[in-house]
Structures are given as C-alpha cells and as structure tokens.
C-alpha cells in the first residue's frame, strides 16, 4: 500500500499550522512553518517525479466515504491541470517563509499558522475531485487571508479585508448555486446523489432545458471570474493586494483557483452549453479587455505595489483569453500563464515589500537610484519586471506568446486588442523601473542596506525558476498540453 501522498500535502499544512499556533516565539514558529513547507515540497517533488504527463487521467487518486446519504465523498486526485499549480504552491511557500525569515511581526506564530493554512486550503482546491470538498477548500482559502490582511495589513486594511471577503464570498455563493443545480439535476437523472466533479460534469449534457444549462454555466463562470479576477469584477483586487502584507500579497498571487476552475469546470461544460459561441465571445472579450484595462491602469498608478496589482489583473486576462482560444495550445498557454504569473508576481511583490521596508514609501516618484544602493535587488527585480513585460527567454513570454498566437486562430479580434496592450505593458514596467531603480538617488533615505541573505536566496531561486521554465517550459507544459488536448477534443465533438 503506497502512502496517501495527496492527503498528506493537503493535511500537513493544516496540522502544522495548529502546531505553529502553539509555538511560543518567532524562532520556533518560523522553524515549524519552514519544516512543514519543506516536507510538502519534497512530497510534491516526489509526486511530480512519479507523475505520468502523457495521460490526462487522474493520478494518485484517493477515496473515502464522507456523507453517503448526500453522495459526498473525500476524493482526491491530480492531473496535468492541477499538478503545475500544486507544484507552484509547494515551491513558492518555503521560499516565502525564508523571505519573511527576519521580519519583525507581532504574533508571528499566528502569521505563519495562517500562511500554512492558506497553503493547505489552496492545494486542497486543486486536488479535490469532489465538488463539496472543492467548495469547502475554496471557501476556506478566504478565512486565513481575511485574517492576514486585517491583522498585518496596511492603513486601510479593515476596509480592504471586508471588501475582499464579502465580494469574493458572493462570487463563491453564486458558484455554489451552479454546483447545486448540477448536483440535483444529476441526482434526478441517475437516481443517486453524487458530488464527484467529473460525474457531475458528464451529467451536464443531459439537462434537457437549454436555458438552465446556460444559467448553470454562467453561475459557475461568474464565481471563477471573480476569483481570477477578470474585468469588471476586479475591484476587490487592488485594495486587497495593496493592503495585504508582502507575504499576503504573494499568497493572493498563489491563489490561482479561479483560473483553475475555468479549466477544470467551465471548459468541459462549454460544448454542451446551448449558446456556446456567445459564452466564448464573452470570455475572450473579458480576457482581452482585462489585459488592456489592467495595463492602462497600471500605467496610471503612482504606488508601486498598486501598479503591480493592476499588472496582475492585466496578466490574468491572458488566462481567460487563452481559455477562450479553444485550441489545445492556447488553453495550455493559459495554464502556463497561471504558473508563470505565480512565480513572477511573487518576486514583484517581494520587491515591493523590500523597497517599502527599506525606504518607507512605495510612491514611485519619491524613489529613485536604488540600483546603486541595492544592486542585488535591482538585478532580481529587473529580471522579474522583464519577465512580466513578456521578455523572451522568461516564462512570461512563453505563456503570452502561446496565448496570443493560438488564440488568434479562433478569436482574431480580441487578440489584436490584447496585442495593443503589450506596448503599454512595456511602458509602465520600464517607467517604474526607471523611477525606482535608476536616476538620481533620493538622499533622504540615507544609507540603505541591500536585501538580506535569506531574501536574496529566496528571490533568486524563484528568479532562476522563471529563467529555467522560460528556456525549457516542457517539464510543466507537456502535461498541460496533454490535458488541454483532452479538453479540446470534447469541443471537437460538438464541431468547433
């Protein structure tokens, strides 16, 4: 009997987060947290090594009855859609903990506990095959983040936290409606309740009433779009990202569950949605608009972190757009965008945090000439910025190139809109880079120390990953392609 590895990577963080709560001081807390995250990382890597990327089937499945009378089961599994995202989480979290190694925070034990809890919940969303479980984890991701923002957040933390909490909660509830509908229609058809995701998705096509099929699809889509977040449901993001502490922002970035839902749930339902073409158009339009809109707004920001937040909206637009591309490679491009965005934005937010810590401001125009004082930071941040503006040889380019190129085949118009944004993207990145890193050093900051060893290490590792996967994306891309081919083959059935 082999070890229930998925349960482990989901439960260990929760377990250790409780342990962390019990710790007395910062040293213990961070040590325990690091231990947990390292264990999770090793397990994940082990799983990745034994992962067969040539099959679109669920692997490492686990099953246990939970609430039989409602057909709810504890069911885990992982495939090419979820593997990279789990990997992303497992990789970034340890380095995030290292990054915060020397931060002076009050009750750091609570802090690390929440951090681990978030990790567990997010991984849980990715690996659960049961809709009930999926939703449970989905909601659980909210709670620790809510606390994290409202305890260690910036000046407007309370407003931001509540806004984020309620806003995304509404999204999830609407999604829940869709899940209910799926669940009961399936129940009626098969006579037995069953919450298994794949089962429910497969039953969707037998819903006789076309309107309700559209509604179900829209309800689910809405839930996901809010989480991604896509224009025009993004207004919770800037506040939350900006007010959150650095680690919180990074956790938000790792919160890729919206896009995941898009691939896991929406795409399989798409072919059986009566007004499919409309839905696809909506997705493509929202995606491209988010790209352009986010870019323009990022250009308009004065606060560095806020700029990064908007750029994140812009980048996530590629996910929606690529998903709407309906070509296997465009879809996998979108998946890859999720992966790469996670890595890139982590560094971007870390840099924001460092700068804010060092200079006490994030207003771009007040900064300047930091490159002279903080060369290490400058190099890493430069790499992150370049990756984020889609410089070839880094992950961002692979994803955006795939999305744009292969989406063009089905959605030329929206790709053209998106391409316009590329210049703007370059513009705000370079502008920010010039104002913060280059130019005359603002003397009022006095002498600045460069980033500490632990920060350098953690940021550098992620940076190297960005470079590595930018040069050789196949290790994660292949499994994505395998699965997206399956997704798209479904579409082919309905003649797309």
């Amino acid at each position: 009997m082999e070890i229930p590895i998925l349960s482990l990577i989901v439960l260990i963080p929760f377990l250790f987060s409780v342990l962390t709560l019990l710790t007395k001081n910062k040293e213990q807390a961070r040590a325990v947290a690091l231990l947990s995250s390292v264990v999770v990382l090793t397990l994940t890597v082990y799983m990745y090594l034994n992962f067969d990327s040539n099959t679109a089937q669920m692997q490492f499945q686990e099953f246990a009855q939970w609430v039989p009378s409602l057909g709810i089961n504890y069911q885990l599994g992982i495939d090419g859609i979820s593997m990279p995202l789990v990997l992303l989480n497992a990789i970034v979290i340890p380095f995030l903990i290292l990054f915060t190694w020397n931060d002076e925070k009050n009750h750091s034990n609570r802090f690390y506990a929440l951090l681990l809890a978030t990790q567990g919940a997010v991984i849980g969303v990715f690996v659960s095959l049961d809709f009930f479980l999926f939703y449970v984890f989905w909601e659980l991701t909210l709670v620790p983040l809510f606390f994290m923002v409202s305890i260690w957040g910036g000046p407007a933390k309370h407003k931001a936290a509540i806004k984020f909490f309620i806003y995304t909660h509404v999204g999830s509830l609407v999604m829940l409606l869709g899940i209910f509908a799926l669940y009961f229609t399936a129940w009626k058809q098969t006579g037995t309740p069953n919450m298994n995701i794949e089962h429910l998705l497969s039953q969707f096509q037998f819903i006789s009433d076309g309107l309700s099929r559209n509604l179900i699809f829209l309800a689910l889509l809405f839930g996901f779009l809010v989480k991604i977040p896509s224009f025009p449901f993004h207004s919770w993001l800037p506040d939350a990202y900006v007010e959150a502490p650095t680690a919180g922002s990074v956790l938000f970035v790792l919160l890729k569950i919206g896009g995941y839902g898009l691939f896991r749930v929406s795409l399989p339902l798409l072919p059986f949605t009566p007004s499919m073409d409309l839905m696809v158009t909506v997705m493509a339009a929202l995606g491209s608009v988010s790209i352009l809109y986010g870019a323009f707004l990022a250009l308009a920001q004065r606060d560095l972190k806020r700029m990064v937040a908007y750029s994140s909206i812009s980048h996530m637009g590629y996910v929606t757009l690529g998903a709407a591309g309906l070509v296997s490679l465009s879809v996998s491009g979108a998946m890859f965008q999720q992966f790469s965005h996670g890595l890139i934005m982590s560094i971007m937010f870390m840099s924001c945090g460092v700068i804010n810590r060092a200079t006490g401001t994030r207003i771009i125009n007040d900064l300047g000439g930091l490159a002279g004082k903080m060369p290490k930071l400058a190099v890493i941040m430069m790499l992150a910025f370049m990756a984020s503006l889609g410089l070839p040889g880094l992950t961002g380019f692979i994803a955006e190139f795939m999305v744009l190129t292969f989406t063009y085949i089905n959605q030329p118009t929206y790709v053209i809109i998106a391409i316009l944004a590329v210049i703007i993207t370059a513009a705000y990145h370079l502008w920010a880079m010039q104002r913060t890193m280059f130019g005359v050093y603002n003397q009022k900051f006095g002498v600045l120390k460069d980033i500490s060893a632990s920060q350098t290490f953690s940021m550098a590792i992620i940076a190297l990953l960005i470079l590595y996967f930018g040069l050789n994306p196949s290790p994660v891309l292949n499994m994505m392609i395998t699965n997206s081919e399956k997704l798209v083959s479904l579409l082919a059935v309905t003649g797309v």
């Binding site: 039989p68 009378s69 009930f132 449970v136 709670v143 305890i151 309370h158 936290a161 509830l173 829940l176």
Partner: protein, 480 residues
C-alpha cells in the same frame, strides 16, 4: 395500564423540577449552588433517556401524544439547549436567592417544549405551548430589579398573550370545521375548509400564533427587545429553544393537520420567509448591541428555515430540521459567549449602560481567548462558512430549493447569507483586530464549558455530518 417508558424523559424532568423547587425552600443562598448542578444532572439524565429511547416510537394517552423520530429529534434539540443554558447559568445564578425558581422555570419550559414536540392533538399542543411560554415569560423578567429585563418580559408577554389568543381563535375555527382536535383527525376532515374564507382565516391565525414564537416578520417585533433585555442565558433559551418549539408545532399543524390547505399557507410562508430573512439580515447590519444583532440574525435564520414550508420536500425538511439543531447550538453558544462578555464588563464596572455593546468586544481575542475563539466559531457557523454546522445545514436547505426548481428563492437566500457575513465578520474584527486597554481576565468556568460543548457540536455537525443528516432525514419522513 399504559407503558410510560416513552414518557420517562419528561417525567424525569418534571421530577427534577419539583425536587429543585422544593429543596430550594430549605437551603440558604450560598448552598443553592447544588441546585444548579442537580438541575443540570436532571436535564442530562433525561437527554440520555431520550437517546436510549431513540428508535422505538409509539402513541400514548389515546393518541394525544406521539413519540417518533421527529419528536425525539426536537426533544434532543431542546434538551441539549436546556443543558447548555443550565450549565452556563451555574455562573449566572451564583449567589442569587431565587436559584431554585430559575431552574424550575427553566426545566418546566423545557418540559413544555418537549410536550409540544410530541403533541398529536391541538389541545395538548396549545397547553404545552402555553406552559413553555408562561415559564419563559417569567424567566425573561427574572431580574426583577432591572427595568430592561422587566420591559423585555413585558413585551414578550403582551405579544405572547395576543398571539395565544389569535392561535386559540384559529384553533377554534379548525375545530369547528373538522369537529376534532386530533391533528391527524383534522387532516382527514379539513377538506370542508378548502377555498373557504374561514379556512384561510384560520390558517393565517395559526401562522400568526406560531409565527410569534418563530419570530417571523411582522410577528417578530418583540424578539429583538426581549433578547436584548432579558438575561443572556434566557435569551439563548428563547432563541435556541422556544423558537424551535414554534417550528415543530408549525410542522405538525401545517404539514400534518392543514396539509389540504397547502396552497394557502405555502404562499403565505413564501412571502414571510423572504421578508423575514431580508429584513432580519439588513437590520442586523446596523446594530451595536451584540445581543440585538444576534436577535435579528436569528430572525433571519428563522426566515431560512421557513423556506422548508415553501419547498415541502424531504430534503428541505431534513435541511430545516438539521438547521434547527445546528442553530440551537450556534445561537445558544453565541448568546452564552455574550453572557460571558457581559459578566466581564459588569465585573469591571457595575452600572454599564449597554454591557453587550460591540465596543466591549474590542480585543477580546487577548482578554478572553477561549470565549473569543468559540464566538468566532459560532459566528462563522452562523454565516455559513464551510466545515461548520451552519454551512452543512444551509447546504442541504438551500440545495433543496434548487432541487425544487425555486431558483429565485435560492438566490434570495444566498444573497442574504452573503449580507449576513458582513455583520458577523464585524464582530470578529472587533474581537481580534481592534485593541483595548483592558487586561486578560480569568474566564468563568461554566460559561466556558458550555461554549466549548456547543463549539464541539457545531464543528462535529460540520465535519461528521452523516449521522445528523440521517436522523434529520428520518425525522422528515414522519412529516412527508
């Protein structure tokens, strides 16, 4: 000679009540602490008895009392709430010369509720209903030097008396039309009233009478005042216990007795449910008294449960019944936590204007960690955050509305619970994110024990829901 084994729980309770009352006469104030333990034991005993009798049902006293899954489920609800309340009250009644009265009233109220749960005849139902009501009127006014408590009980009593009259009037018509008071009997002969104004009138009167206990808008107006004014432990009994009594009565009267008039009352309940949940949630947004906020929230929750009358499916009823159970624990727990806070505040300064003001919850996370943690659990459960009882029961209940194709209702309910998140989260915010100058204090043991028990159950129902859902299903089978 009838076999009274089924009746043992009630008898035990009555016995305990009388014993407590009579012993209390001979004890001096300090010694009365025993009584509270005694009462708690008695309630526990009868709870155990109910659990042992679980499964075997039957009728008693020529079919005026029926013992079935439904009644037993609700008895469990009442008894566990009563148990929580009595444990918590150990602290509340400390050094009070009227301890025995408090506990006997508490116990008799519980007995009344239990009889309502097994009533199979309108007379029994009415009498038991009144028994519970009268006991709780007195409890609400238990602090007879405290104007707020008196005002609370006065309002409770006045509206209670009014609605009792309304209900009785309604019953009289039903009786007149059907010639019998046995609920199944009513069900057989009710057809006369189909479409007749009398039938409609009696339905509405019954709704008003029961809606008073359930606190449906617009029959709810006493509830916020009473919950706020009366002692917190009593409020928790009212919110968690007697409200459920209203539901079980309503289940019996409408789903069994007046099933033929379904058309009328479904519509009525649909209206009331929507209004109730919406108004409850919205008004709760702007409350600064936590007890009042909880009161409005329980109004809203009543609205959710009432949806089951509209859906009228097995799942819906199971959901409603499960909700009754979970709400019992959540609300009782929340009120007890508030009681603990009030205790803290009053122990610091005697004459505090509004001891349950939300500002007193500042920094509770530091001052009373256990209380704060439990309160957080209860609040999130009420808000329907997953892996809590609240989520599980909402899940079943809301899901059933979709099942029945009442999407509009589901949407309204979902949006409501989204709104509710705001005021629950607000309290959490005060407890953890706002700091206060007050220092950490020793948390009174009884309150803590009660809260922990409640919290454990709230989580248990959320995690390990299978048995509870199963019982709820069984109970629902009785009605449909």
């Amino acid at each position: 000679m009838v076999d009274l084994t089924l009746l043992t729980p009630e008898l035990t309770l009555v016995g305990t009540g009388l014993v407590v009352l009579s012993i209390g006469l001979f004890l001096n104030t300090n010694a009365k602490k025993i009584l509270s333990y005694l009462a708690s034991l008695g309630i526990l005993a009868s709870l155990v008895l109910v659990l042992t009798n679980l499964g075997n049902g039957g009728m008693l006293f020529n079919e005026t009392l029926s013992f079935d899954a439904l009644s037993q489920f609700f008895k469990i609800v009442f008894l566990s709430v009563a148990l929580l309340v009595s444990i918590a009250s150990i602290k509340y009644t400390e050094g009070n010369s009227h301890t025995e009265e408090f506990y006997s009233l508490l116990i008799f109220a519980t007995v009344g509720m239990m009889f309502v749960a097994s009533a199979n005849d309108l007379i029994v139902l009415f009498v038991a209903f009144e028994l519970a009501s009268l006991a709780t009127y007195a409890l609400a006014g238990f602090e007879k030097k405290n104007p707020l408590s008196l005002e609370a009980s006065m309002k409770y009593f006045m509206i209670g008396a009014l609605s009792a009259a309304l209900m009785l009037f309604g019953i009289s018509f039903i009786y007149g039309a059907t010639g019998t008071t046995s609920i199944p009997g009513v069900a057989e002969n009710i057809n006369i009233l189909l479409g007749s104004p009398i039938g409609l009138l009696s339905v509405v009167l019954m709704i008003a009478g029961l809606g008073f206990k359930i606190a449906l808008v617009p029959f709810h107006m006493w509830a916020p005042d009473t919950y706020q004014g009366s002692p917190s432990v009593v409020s928790s009994l009212l919110a968690a216990g007697s409200k459920k009594m209203g539901f079980v009565a309503a289940f019996k009267v409408f789903m069994v007795g007046l099933i033929a008039l379904q058309a009328e009352w479904t519509t009525a309940f649909a209206l009331l449910a929507v209004i109730t949940m919406t108004l409850g949630n919205i008004v709760a947004l702007s409350q600064n008294s936590v007890k009042r906020m909880l009161a409005y929230s329980s109004v809203a929750q009543a609205g959710y449960i009432t949806m089951s009358f509209v859906v009228m499916s097995k799942t819906a009823l199971a959901g409603a019944i499960l909700y009754a159970l979970s709400h019992g624990f959540m609300k009782a727990g929340a009120f007890i936590a508030t009681a603990a806070v009030i205790y803290m505040v009053l122990s610091e300064k005697k004459d505090s204007e509004m001891p349950d003001h939300i500002d007193n919850f500042r920094g509770l996370g530091k001052r009373m960690p256990i209380t704060a943690l439990c309160m957080t659990i209860f609040l999130f459960a009420l808000a329907g955050i997953p892996l809590t009882a609240g989520y599980m029961s909402k899940f079943v209940l809301f899901a059933s509305t979709i099942e029945a194709g009442l999407v509009w209702l589901a949407v309204i309910a979902i949006l409501n619970s989204a709104i509710s998140l705001f005021y629950y989260a607000r309290v959490v915010k005060y407890m953890y994110f706002l700091s206060s100058e007050g220092e950490k204090i020793a948390e009174p043991v009884p309150y803590t024990v009660a809260m922990i028990i409640a919290a454990i159950f709230v989580l248990a129902i959320g995690f390990w829901s299978e048995p509870f859902i199963y019982w709820a299903m069984e109970a629902a089978k009785v009605l449909i």
